[in-house]
Symmetry: C2
């Protein structure tokens, strides 16, 4: 690849990225669902504009700060898909004054605090739990949901939009069939919600989230909106789940080689947990891995014929367990290219992309 990398760097293949966006846009259109992509994965105003070129006007973010970040580039229809943080009411009011803002609630404390603190109307989604059990309300908690709906309906500044779901347990799937089974179960749950609330509230929408389901499924009956995020880049986690091919992964880490150990066939990279994050994938053979080496042609990375993985990461070191061919051909001072396990976390750490056509994007949101 034509670059002048001297330290661990995140490269973005614009061709693969645009193909991922285009495919999800087409799928949403075919399935007649609204695509409201989650921008927490890329966090970049420039990548956001690529979405805009495909006609996207509504987005999802995971924090008030991220909403502020994208608002400054003209995004004015934003869902913050995280249980509303009541301590940020002042910033929420600022946002609501400038954008169509949707918030997520799942308890009466939040509704009451918004009743008291909001100065501008917002849309409200109730967080529903269809099996992930991280957060949200299950259909069995109907009395709590009923009470929330009643309280929201009594409040002029709260406009009830519908139910928001993130079926994050799809990340535990290990093939497309398992993803589809989780998706089918989510659809059954939506039907229960709809059955219960359709008479009282026929206008409530269902918004669902996870990249595995949105990548693998083609049909979304009863769903009005999808909010995948990771698909813009994909990564080894999604590959392991069966949600993408290796060739769909649009980001790669470039890491200098600083040492080799022939007795262990290890290659030592400058590139560790502060660059990749410590996220890992457990392969079906039991190995835990932190990245995969891919070969590079003159301007793009290619699919590997054999798999060589990062087997461990410390703060700044990555250790590649290399097969004889890779070990032999790799020299100290080379740069190896590594597909990341979790592109959202790696992008969040790296803060900027080197786009493979040569342009450097460094307008990524700096969290904290």
């Amino acid at each position: 690849m034509k670059h002048h990398i001297t330290t661990p760097s995140l490269l973005l293949d614009k061709v693969r990225c645009l193909r991922n966006i285009e495919r999800m846009v087409a799928k949403a259109k075919d399935a007649n669902v609204q695509l409201r992509p989650h921008f927490k994965t890329h966090q970049s105003l420039a990548v956001g504009r690529w979405f805009r070129d495909f006609g996207i006007t509504k987005i999802t973010v995971s924090s008030v700060r991220m909403a502020q970040h994208f608002l400054q580039d003209g995004w004015d229809d934003i869902t913050i898909a995280f249980p509303v943080n009541l301590l940020e009411i002042r910033h929420i009011n600022d946002l609501a004054a400038q954008a169509r803002l949707n918030l997520v609630v799942e308890n009466m404390e939040a509704v009451e605090a918004l009743q008291q603190g909001l100065t501008t109307p917002v849309g409200i989604f109730i967080k529903a739990d269809t099996g992930y059990h991280r957060t949200g309300l299950a259909i069995s908690q109907a009395s709590e949901i009923d009470a929330l709906i009643a309280a929201i309906r009594q409040t002029a500044t709260l406009h009830l939009k519908g139910f928001l779901v993130h079926a994050g347990h799809s990340y535990g799937a290990r093939n497309a069939e398992e993803v589809l089974a989780i998706h089918e179960e989510s659809l059954r749950q939506y039907a229960l919600f709809r059955e219960r609330y359709n008479d009282r509230a026929p206008d409530l929408i269902f918004s669902m989230g996870d990249t595995p389901s949105c990548s693998v499924a083609d049909h979304f009956p009863g769903v009005d909106e999808i909010r995948p995020g990771n698909f813009v880049f994909y990564d080894l986690s999604q590959w392991q789940i069966g949600a993408c091919s290796l060739d769909d992964i649009a980001v790669v880490m470039a890491c200098p080689v600083v040492a080799k150990h022939a007795s262990r066939s290890d290659i030592i990279l400058y590139g560790g947990g502060v660059h990749f994050s410590k996220d890992r994938v457990k392969l079906s053979d039991g190995r835990t891995i932190y990245g995969m080496v891919v070969p590079v042609d003159w301007d793009r990375w290619q699919m590997p014929k054999t798999y060589n993985f990062i087997k461990s990461l410390s703060q700044e070191h990555g250790i590649v367990s290399a097969d004889p061919a890779l070990f032999e051909q790799t020299k100290i001072g080379d740069v190896l290219h590594i597909l990341p396990v979790h592109s959202c976390m790696t992008a969040d750490l790296m803060k900027k992309y080197h786009v493979s056509d040569g342009m450097i994007i460094d307008d990524v949101l700096r969290l904290s």
Copy 2:
């Protein structure tokens, strides 16, 4: 605690931090070893000045960029304790022109590249492996070490300083006895090196690294320099290893409470992998945890009477498995205080500290 936290924030208790520094300074003095603390944990110019107040003048860092960062605040005796990254030779030359710089090598490729590329003399440590097996040369690789020494000695710009060791396998220890056993084995290995090289090179020094050994051991026979870093803050990993008490941990994350789930006794925090990192500790009872809740008095966090842990982290969510008392007393909109598993990684993500006396330090190095 008197603060106005609205988003996940890293608090630093200056009293505990100064006590940690003072204790390590005293230990080094008593043991008659040079203390060259590793600054990768805090990465802060302000915290660096606290060390300077204790007479520290020599430091360790893990990257060229971090060396540049501290050089700007007058640190001019710096060891980059990472196998030298040959791709950064230009910046290394810049640094060497302004500071006493020590580099680490472990292969002939690095020595040859330095022979050709260095424009200013530097100190050189040979990376030795005393059992961690991440990187470095073992005493059994004597012919390689001999060749390196000969090549370094023939080069005017390379001044051989000695051997540098990081006994990182001490992180696998689960009590002080296990740490001491690893330390004793390292000392035995140093003796072997010394025996072999003392005649030819009586001036070579031994520099050792890890916080567990430096915290638990009081005696360092045959060691000339210690380079611990994490001890400035400590964390749950060090507590689990037996290298510190909970009361020694000088940083805590403050995280807003956004939801509660009574059926599971879960408290949902705004605070996830992008704030804490995904580093984890496996307790002796088999549980994997990502943080521990500590109570707070009017201006300091206190030791908990019962242990409540973060049981899982996703990108922005942390899930606390709460006992009945904590669940009951915690309200949505509260802030919980969480000891981190790995303070180096958390500080690197958070980028700034809120010091508990009210001063805010935000001059942390921004990696990328």
